[in-house]
Amino acid sequence: MNFPYSFPLTRAFSLYLGQIAFLVGESFSSILLGRIRWRLVLNQIVEIGFGSQAVVIITGIFTGAVFTAQIFFQFNALNMSSAVGPVVSIALCRELGPVLTGLMVAGRVGAAICAEIGTMRVTQQIDALRALAVHPIDYLVVPRAVAMMISMPLLVGECIFFALTASYYVATRILNVNSVFFLQHMWFYTHTKDMVMALTKGFVFALIVVFVGCQQGLTTSNGAVGVGRSTTEAVVISSLTILMINFFLTMGLNIIFPAGGKL
């Protein structure tokens, strides 16, 4: 299972994709066959979902606040300050909320997953699991994957909620936008489909973080240095993948849930 760095880049890349595909396939077949240890899933929801809230809330509040201020400065000059609410809300639902939550969770959870599984690998605890006839994918990957798929959409929703709340306070209390205008316009131009898009993206980013983290962890070698290296790689790879996949998701989802409407 060692990653062949000496191979030409394209070959190494397709090998890596193959390994990820194998991991995803095995995990989903375990999930579909009902090999889910719910007690571990709950532990992981507490660890991953509950524990990430502070990070996600703070990210949401300050992103919402600063974005509102910038949009206001630009729009107010054009006498369009009543458009601040909808612009902020749509940007947060469609892009900023899911992407920033994804990146923060990649840093916090992806790193933790990779470091934990990587340490288990280099200290032979994974082999001990296998020797006890417990499949590492069933025991380690599946609970984390299920927990992430449940937690991540909720975290994205939470991020957006706090961002919009902060946006409301900044706009109405600091920048003196009319609060009825702000709320009415925001409400009028933000649709369920924008929220669905946010949660869909959150779900996809959850899969990226969890499978990249697990894959890096399971292929860790070379002791403490190796754990450090694969943890860094897990965060870098999952963050970059989130940013790249996000573009394609936006293009794809925009066909299903076109932006705008109800004008």
Binding site: T119, Q124, Q125, A128, R130, A131, L132, A133
Partner: protein
């Protein structure tokens, strides 16, 4: 001569190499059912690799491993599970789960095999820990145990499901003579009372003399000697006498 049906494990022409370095160069070994086989060999000679291959943790480069008549060399992870349930393994450095207490570690195999009654789990764990003289240590974390205690906790985990076959990787290394003796007696008792088939990798000749029904010596990737304990001691082969008496050929 033992007939084929009496062997729990039959290994034929087993080869393994890591990055071009040949570790096992065609190992042939039969492990008779219900006996304790001690595997001797120099450090770095591939004994741990051999044990790992027997439960499919490493896939052999070539060769055949039959357990209970079933060829396992080509099986995948899920197909190996029923075979692994029959075999307990004590890893050389314990490989305890370091995020669990000693109790949870020892209870792990039972719970994973579906034991729901906490009372039975508790009783079995207590008895297992008692067998390895670790009473009262069950709430400690592995990182807070001494090396020898860690090894014994791992042994308690390996035997708790009462497997038909147990692979021990240096069970007495790093233990004081008294505790070593406890472990030796435990291995002997498992053989005599439960008819467990054991393979014990060790460097400890006191232990070997106490527990071995048969002894095999792994040398340069092959089985150099394979016979009874008496055969070992009666041997005039200089390789074997040097090994038993612990003589190197370095000049003082």
């Amino acid at each position: 001569m033992i007939s084929a049906g009496d062997n729990l494990i039959e290994v034929r022409n087993l080869r393994q190499s890591f990055s071009g370095q040949e570790i096992l160069r065609g190992v042939n070994l039969d492990i008779p059912r219900g006996e304790t086989t001690v595997l001797l060999g120099q450090s770095g000679g591939g004994k741990s690799v051999f044990l790992r291959q027997l439960i499919g943790l490493i896939h052999p480069l070539s060769g055949s491993i039959k357990i209970d008549g079933e060829e396992i060399a080509h099986l995948d992870e899920r197909q190996l599970e029923p075979i692994r349930r029959k075999i307990g393994m004590l890893f050389q450095d314990g490989a305890l789960f370091d995020s669990m207490t000693v109790f949870e570690n020892v209870a792990f195999p039972l719970r994973e095999r579906g034991e729901r009654s906490e009372k039975i789990v508790w009783e079995k764990v207590a008895r297992s820990l008692e067998l390895v003289s670790l009473e009262g240590q069950d709430q400690k974390m592995p990182s807070n145990l001494s090396g020898g205690m860690r090894k014994r906790a791992a042994l308690a985990r390996a035997i708790i499901t009462e497997p038909a076959c147990i692979l021990y990787d240096e069970p007495t290394a790093g233990l004081d003579p008294i505790v070593s003796d406890t472990i030796n007696k435990l291995i002997r008792r498992m053989q005599s009372q439960l008819k467990v088939t054991s393979i014990v990798v060790t460097h400890d000749m006191i232990s070997t003399n106490y527990i071995a029904d048969r002894v095999a010596l792994l040398r340069e990737g092959r089985i150099h000697f394979d016979g009874s304990l008496a055969d070992l001691h009666n041997s005039t082969d200089p390789v074997i006498t040097d090994f038993i008496e612990g003589r190197s050929h370095e000049i003082d």
